[in-house]
């Protein structure tokens, strides 16, 4: 991906280069045209001079005896030449062309004027040539000067373009920065970006309005969740107290006690479901603080201490490999504990007797990772895909569980900017990896 600033600068550079190239080609053509026109005028002038001369002194002095019927002369630097010869032809010539002549073993490009005329019934051909070498030199020099000038201009404008682009796009940079650093619309910086570019102003304005709107909706949704949860918890509370009081009656039939206890368990499921939803809503609306510093391995050790009696009882081997520790700043300890506890507890739950659960913590490719692997029953692809969704989980986690535990784990991980990845193979086991930012 390329930044807009760079793209604009690149486009400017390329367009300037193309323009310069075109300009140079055009200029050299123009220079050549002008020069040739000048040479041609020069040649015509010279022809008039020669014809004047011939008119004055006759043709004979040009045609010396030894060379019988031709005359030729060029100056020592071979810049010009003039030749006159007798010809026998019908048509009249009067044109100027570019042609090369071999003079003393040297091929030189000339602009040559060919002119035929009659003197005393005899046709003569007059050729006056002007070397193009000087013109070419001139052209090259002028081109060079222009080129240097243009390169200079390009560099200057490129630098100013870069500066100006940077200045111009600063509001956009600010908007992007505002968007980048946030994980939820509630964290969006609502102070307007200062700009007098109407496009950026509308973009910023639209974004702010949208964020505010989304944030409002989110807040409303969370408030509704929280309110509904409270409304639900009150009747649950009444029912629970009633059942508990019943259970305390001395003369109660044991079979009825058992039924009451079952009802309490069912009620507890409702309670934990509501509490879990409440919990997630609270995490997502950032009602918890992140201001504790924790040592990850200490927390892991605590979790393993809690769970090891259960694992032992079940005959699941709990292994720990704390290779490296991390002092994790800006954490909420009890949320962090719950996040990992859920996964370790599930791993033990889903691993049959004789199986293993391995908890590892280490740095890998510069990132701190906690992995929890089990040799349990694993998951199919479709089970894995719904793993973190509330209620949609396709895994039967047991009668007491609401199946929302992993959704909680996910929201706590998001809250701490921790990434979770899961690899699993049916009948082989599952590995949860927590990748710290």
């Amino acid at each position: 991906m390329i930044k807009l600033k760079t793209k604009l600068a690149l486009f400017n550079l390329l367009s300037k280069l193309a323009f310069t190239a075109l300009f140079l080609i055009f200029m050299s053509y123009i220079i050549e045209r002008i020069n040739l026109r000048q040479v041609d005028n020069n040649l015509i002038q010279k022809r008039e001079q020669v014809l004047d001369l011939i008119a004055r002194i006759g043709i004979d002095p040009f045609l010396t005896s030894d060379s019988t019927d031709a005359f030729g002369s060029y100056n020592i630097l071979k810049e010009e030449f003039i030749s006159l010869e007798r010809v026998n032809m019908e048509e009249d010539w009067n044109y100027i062309e570019v042609t090369s002549r071999l003079i003393e073993d040297e091929e030189i490009a000339y602009r040559v004027l060919n002119y035929s005329f009659m003197v005393d019934g005899q046709k003569y051909l007059l050729e006056i040539g002007n070397s193009l070498t000087s013109i070419l030199y001139a052209k090259r020099n002028i081109t060079k000067v222009i080129l240097v000038f243009l390169v200079f201009i390009i560099i200057i404008t490129l630098l100013t373009d870069l500066q100006y682009n940077h200045y111009l796009l600063r509001p956009l940079d600010k908007i992007i920065k505002k968007l980048k650093g946030i994980s939820s619309p509630s964290l969006f910086d609502k102070t307007p970006v200062r700009t007098n570019t109407s496009d950026f102003f509308s973009l910023d304005h639209a974004l702010r309005e949208m964020m505010e709107h989304i944030d409002e909706l989110f807040q409303k949704e969370k408030e509704i969740t929280i309110n509904i949860s409270h409304e639900l918890l009150t009747p649950v509370s009444v029912l629970r107290s009633k059942l508990e009081n019943l259970l305390l009656k001395e003369d109660i039939d044991p079979a009825i006690s058992e039924k009451i206890e079952e009802s309490l368990k069912t009620l507890h499921r409702l309670q934990s479901l509501v509490n879990s939803l409440l919990f997630i809503a609270r995490i997502e609306s950032h009602q918890y603080l992140r201001e504790e510093t924790i040592e990850v391995n200490v927390v892991l050790q605590e979790i393993l201490n809690e769970i090891s009696p259960i694992a032992e009882d079940k005959g699941v081997i709990l292994k720990e490999e704390y290779i490296q520790d991390l002092r994790f700043k800006a954490a909420n300890r009890s949320l962090f504990f719950s996040m990992l506890y859920n996964v370790v507890n599930n791993a033990v739950k889903f691993t049959p007797t004789g199986g293993e659960v391995i908890v590892k913590s280490l740095f890998q490719h510069g990132r701190y990772i906690v992995t929890i692997s089990d040799t349990g029953r694993g998951m199919t692809h479709s089970q894995k895909s719904t793993l973190f969704s509330r209620f949609k989980s396709k895994i039967n986690i047991g009668e007491n569980s609401t199946g929302i535990g992993l959704a909680i784990t996910k929201s706590i991980a998001d809250f701490h900017n921790i990434e979770i990845s899961v690899t699993s193979e049916p009948e082989k086991g599952t590995t949860f990896s927590f990748l710290f930012a």
Partner: protein
């Protein structure tokens, strides 16, 4: 002890009262904040169980008022809101404890007792269990002078059963008390069974524990009279 129950949900207030009365506590009830405010101003209570979600009153103001009137009452906040800041605010205002709805009545009673023990400075309790002796201050269980090594969880579990002796505690109540820091969602009745099993194993190495009973289908009980 004298308890004022401030709770707008009458059904719940009545159940709490019935339960506490059975525990020989004197209960008074206020179904609204203004009623509670009046009662606190007139009467002396040892405890106020305060629901923060009163329709007519900010529950926290009741604590402020009571403190202004130099009331000695200990406040236990009960709320379904459970928001962290409420908890912090309440405790900062001098509330003694905090319970989120729905709670076990047994848990409420233990909180009241715990606050009472702190208040009357009876932290060092020595409890006799057959030939075992539980020392609450040093958190030790002794058998004829020898210490029985228990994990923290095992000790807490036993203590909770002992402090609520002669009452059947359900696995759920035990779980909530011991693993209160962990989510409800992870509740597994097996947790309690495993710990009780381990606890029994350790105790039985010293002596039989007929006082630690399993109540089929319901939970566990420590009986004092055996």
């Amino acid at each position: 002890m004298n308890v004022l129950i401030v709770e707008d949900e009458k059904g719940l207030a009545n159940e709490i009262a019935a339960f506490l009365k059975a525990e020989n506590l004197l209960c008074d009830m206020a179904y609204s904040g203004s009623e509670a405010s009046e009662k606190i101003a007139i009467n002396l209570y040892d405890f106020v169980l305060l629901d923060l979600g009163l329709p007519d009153y900010n529950g926290l103001d009741l604590i402020r008022e009571a403190r202004k009137n130099n009331s000695e009452a200990s406040f236990i906040i009960i709320t379904a809101r459970g928001a962290v800041e409420d908890k912090v605010k309440g405790l900062n205002l001098g509330a003694d404890d905090y319970l989120a709805k729905p709670f076990a009545l047994i848990e409420l009673l233990s909180r009241i007792n715990a606050v009472a023990r702190r208040k009357f400075n009876v932290i060092n309790q020595v409890i006799q269990l057959g030939n075992f002796i539980m020392q609450t201050q040093s958190r030790k269980l002794l058998y004829e002078g020898r210490e029985v090594e228990l994990t923290k969880k095992e000790y807490d579990l036993l203590l909770y059963l002992v402090l609520n002796q002669n009452k059947v505690l359900t696995r759920l109540q035990l779980y909530e008390h011991i693993w209160g820091n962990i989510l409800d969602d992870q509740y597994d009745s097996n947790f309690i069974d495993v710990h009780i099993k381990n606890l029994r194993k350790k105790l039985n190495a010293f002596a039989a524990t007929p006082w630690l009973e399993t109540v089929r289908g319901v939970g566990y009980r420590v009986s004092a009279d055996q």
